[in-house]
């Protein structure tokens, strides 16, 4: 931590910043009455990036260029934000209770970096914890839309800067110096004469006896010593030693394992249970109870719960997708498609028409749906990895018949999310089971349940028509039609409250989110991208990057077709038509680093794609090997197929707080994109999904991983952090799809490309709903 001295405070509130020529504002925050120093700030509104258009036929700005989903989330936080605060402790540590969920994206580390930077305190002295549900925060405790750093960067800095300023003032009294003579370094205040007083020693003296509003200036970006440098995860040691505690690792007194016997078809309901008493008498089992979603069992071990679930004999009422298979849902989507309507563009105009199908996919994390619940007659306590804890608290309170204030919701570290933890299905279910049994429970979904009854990324189609004359694309129409996506986790409420501020007119939640997130980076003249929805019979939700991977994949494949028709190189074509300089820069970077256009053997090819979102932009160049020798590699119980052999990714998020964390998020997004393009989907048959294990649902495994991966973090552009968690998925899926199309000589039209071929596994039975664990594990020890 290097020494820095802030620009001297002046009475006039504005000073010219030498760095960017903009006026340097004071930011308002608070000192809070507390035994040791507590400084706080409200979440504020960030400037909306102005659209930039410059190329062939300029497209009018689409909604996301004016106000995107992140602006909306940031704006929504404003009137209800209340305070986020940093506290300085007597031992010199600084704590910050982050009102967001850590599910692997690295926000506890990046938030700690922001605090450390602004306070001049060593990173290892900053402790970031996850806040319990704080109902007063309303919309400002939703972790989604890759919005965490976008919306919290400035408020965290303001709180930290106020704390530092207050420490300086306390030290000035202590050291008999003027504040302007003092500097801060590594968690201490230094005087010109070399005297030093630590933050820990000042923690009480700097405390405020009253809560009051104060103002402060922030560090110049040129003064950053930590933000923008690669840092390792602060929770890495806990992760590699097994000490990191997830919901199922907590030791809550009285909380015993519980599982649910679930229906054989999606959302079936219990009609009757035939052997409740027998199952209650099984070894270790304490309770059997019918709940909304099935028959709950509680016991001494999860193994005994598995036995009990398998032993239950239940008659079920039909579910919400009864009798349906993939082809039935596809037919429903076809009926719901909004027609394409090319404007009359004259006789020389030609069109590219394309039609894509994206099958159901699963957003299951490795940690299955799970929650601990302890419900008493007048109060309840819940522990779970939750990205929308306030909505969860409301729903749980309603379900239990308790006031919201009687329900305490703890946000635990999450073992992955990918959209899954936006919902609180397990928390709600655990609360119900705890209430019905009168005992605390540790509820876990079996993996098979997690795939078959858990949330899915809905099936969709995308129809595209692009009209062109030589050298110009005149119009681009995309009609995306999807099984309904459930946004009932709080995002919908944000949209309702913000409706008057939206630039999108009278749309549904889903249509609004689609319109606020989908942005064509190309100047293709009149551009319309519309969503229509059908069939609400499925358990759906956002999957990492929501609509973008499918919409982007379809567009980039059409871009390749347009380039082919115009006899242009796919990369040169994109360069020519991209609207935005940042997009061009990342595209050029991957083309250069990935040696775009190099000679490759037949059956192998490169693909390239670019995607703007979350105030950032990313480009991906992928190389694929579709030759039989590779595609038919034989590994036991493995989906091999074409292999992505190399990926080069360039990412510009405006300002990368932690470039090492950003690289990790891109890597993960790339693995998701590869899976969506080539291997991973759910097959619907007779009202249920066939996939029931990780050897059925083909998420990327080591044998699918590109041996060569290069992620390039671009130097800061906007100077403000954009979103990272979801950014990499869409461009990766699209680049892999384009590479596949070029290697095989035909544009793929369904995803994943292998969905309609061999199933590749023997489906597990649906009754009993979960498989028994094998007993031959010792035979496989290696």
């Amino acid at each position: 931590m290097a020494t820095h001295r802030h620009a001297p405070d002046r009475d006039d509130a504005e000073a010219r910043s030498p760095e960017d020529g903009t006026s340097r504002r004071r930011f308002v925050g608070y000192l809070l009455a507390a035994p040791t120093l507590v400084a706080a700030a409200e979440v504020g509104v960030q400037a909306v990036a102005a659209p930039q258009a410059a190329a062939a036929v300029p497209s009018p700005p689409q909604a996301p260029e004016l106000l995107d989903l992140n602006d909306l989330l940031t704006l929504a936080a404003k009137p209800t934000a209340n305070l986020i605060s940093v506290q300085v402790h007597r031992d010199g540590t600084v704590s910050f209770d982050l009102p967001r969920a850590e599910v692997g994206q690295g926000i506890t580390t990046s938030s700690a970096m922001i605090v450390a930077e602004e306070m001049d305190v060593p990173l290892e002295k900053v402790r970031v914890t996850l806040a319990d549900a704080r109902p007063e925060l309303l919309f400002n405790q939703l972790t989604g839309g890759s919005n965490t750093t976008i919306s919290t960067f400035t408020p965290i800095r303001v709180a930290a800067a106020i704390a530092r300023r207050r420490l300086l003032e306390a030290a000035a009294l202590e050291l008999g110096s003027a504040v302007s003579e003092l500097t801060t370094r590594a968690g201490a205040v230094l005087s010109p004469g070399g005297r030093r007083v630590t933050y820990g020693a000042l923690a009480e003296k700097a405390a405020s006896v009253e809560s009051k509003q104060v103002s402060v200036r922030l560090k110049e970006r040129s003064e950053f010593k930590l933000v923008g440098t690669p840092q390792n995860r602060l929770d890495a040691l806990d992760a590699v030693t097994g000490r990191k505690r997830f919901a199922m690792d907590l030791d809550v007194p009285g909380a015993a394992p519980a599982m649910v016997c679930r229906p054989p078809t999606i959302n079936g309901k219990v009609k009757s249970v035939h052997n409740k008493a027998d199952v209650e008498a099984m070894p270790g089992i304490t309770d059997v109870a019918v709940v909304s979603t099935g028959v709950a069992v509680r016991g001494r071990t999860f193994g005994q719960c598995i036995d009990a679930v398998r032993a239950l004999r239940v008659t079920w009422d039909p579910g919400t997708a009864e009798g349906k298979s993939d082809a039935d849902v596809l037919r429903e989507l076809r009926k719901a498609e909004i027609p394409l309507a090319v404007p009359d563009l004259g006789p020389l105009t030609e069109t590219v028409d394309a039609d894509f199908t994206f099958w159901f996919a699963s957003n299951s994390a490795l940690e299955p749906n799970c929650a601990v619940a302890d419900v008493r007659s007048n109060r309840a306590e819940i522990w779970s990895g939750l990205k929308s804890p306030v909505v969860a608290q409301q729903e749980i309170a309603a379900k239990l018949g308790l006031p919201q204030s009687a329900v305490t919701v703890h946000v635990t570290e999450g073992g992955g999310s990918f959209g899954r933890k936006l919902f609180y299905d397990a928390a709600l279910e655990a609360a119900e089971i705890s209430q019905k049994t009168g005992k605390a429970v540790k509820l876990m979904w079996h993996r098979t349940d997690d795939f078959r009854q858990g949330r899915t990324h809905p099936m969709s189609t995308s129809r595209v028509r692009a009209a062109y004359v030589p050298g110009q694309v005149l119009s681009y129409e995309q009609r995306h039609t999807s099984v309904a996506t459930d946004f009932g986790h709080g995002l919908g409420e944000i949209l309702t409250s913000m409706a008057a501020k939206l630039p999108v007119g009278d749309l549904t939640f889903s249509e609004t989110i689609f319109t606020l997130t989908q942005e064509s980076p190309y100047d293709f003249g009149v551009t319309t991208q519309l969503l229509n929805e059908a069939d609400k019979g499925f358990n759906t939700g956002s999957m990492r990057n929501i609509y973008s991977p499918n919409v982007r994949c379809a567009q980039e494949l059409v871009v390749d077709e347009l380039a082919k028709k115009m006899k242009k190189d796919p990369y040169e074509f994109r360069r020519e038509f991209l609207k935005d300089e940042r997009a061009s820069a990342v595209l050029e970077k991957v083309a250069e680093k990935g040696e775009w256009g190099r000679r490759m053997p037949e059956g192998t090819a490169q693909g390239i794609a670019v995607h703007p979102e979350y105030h950032g932009v990313v480009a991906v160049l992928a190389e694929i090997d579709c030759r039989p020798g590779t595609a038919r590699r034989d590994l036991p119980d493995a989906r091999t197929g074409p292999r992505v052999t190399k990926v080069v990714c360039a990412v510009d998020v405006g300002l990368a707080v932690n470039p090492r964390g950003l690289e990790a998020q891109m890597m993960g997004g790339i693995m998701d994109g590869i899976a969506h393009a080539l291997t991973s989907s759910l097959h619907l048959k007779d009202g249920h999904f066939l996939e029931g294990s990780w050897d059925n649902y083909f998420y990327t495994r080591q044998w699918n991983v590109p041996p060569e991966l290069d992620v390039i973090v671009m130097p800061p552009t906007t100077g403000k952090p954009g979103g990272a968690g979801e950014l990499g998925v869409a461009a990766a899926m699209a680049a892999v799809a384009c590479a596949y199309g070029r290697a095989t000589g035909r544009m793929p039209t369904e995803f994943p490309v292998g969905h309609s071929g061999d199933l590749g596994f023997e489906p597990l039975p649906t009754v009993p709903p979960i498989p028994q664990s094998p007993t031959d594990g010792l035979d496989h020890a290696h």
């Binding site: 692997g104 929770d235 590699v240 050897d695 496989h780």
Partner: protein
């Protein structure tokens, strides 16, 4: 209820459980050893990977009744002691490469990695791309390339 005795992370433990309860639940639910994670229960995801007598195995698929008195079970919690260090060299490599994202699969990944390196050594060779391709452990965050780098680095240190 039957009693089972075995060595867990260097210490003799005794636990009461029906013979057919899988070892994963004995470790997690009865002994409070939570490093091995549940991800499937059918020996597919490998999140619970631990060692028995130095070999990698999946306790989700072994009955506690099949564990003998003289069996030595090592979970991630006991791995450092096998190298007589604060951290095993593989864990050090993991930290250096900043591998973990959510961290849920990481104990199993590390236990697999150590066994994989030992296996290659026993066959008189260094770990290579083909060995890495065979690893079945799921990482749903997709931090696969860093896992590959860390295994190679950990092997160098082991």
């Amino acid at each position: 209820m039957p009693t089972h005795t075995f060595t867990l992370n260097g210490e003799k433990v005794t636990v009461e459980a029906e013979d057919d309860v899988r070892l994963l639940w004995v470790l997690r639910d009865l002994l409070g050893v939570t490093g091995p994670k549940y991800g499937c229960g059918i020996e597919v995801c490998r999140a619970c990977t631990s060692h028995i007598n130095g070999k990698a195995f999946n306790p989700c698929s072994v009955r506690v009744g099949d564990i003998a008195d003289d069996d030595e079970v090592t979970t991630i919690e006991g791995l450092p002691a096998t190298a007589d260090a604060r951290l095993h060299p593989m864990q050090e490599a993991w930290l250096e490469r900043d591998v973990a994202q959510c961290g849920y699969c990481q104990p199993g990944q590390i236990m697999t990695a150590v066994a994989k390196v030992r296996q290659a050594r026993a066959e008189g060779r260094d770990i290579g791309d083909d060995d890495l391709d065979e690893i079945r452990n799921i990482c749903r965050c997709g931090t696969y390339n860093r896992i590959r780098e860390a295994i190679v680095e950990g092997a160098r240190r082991m």
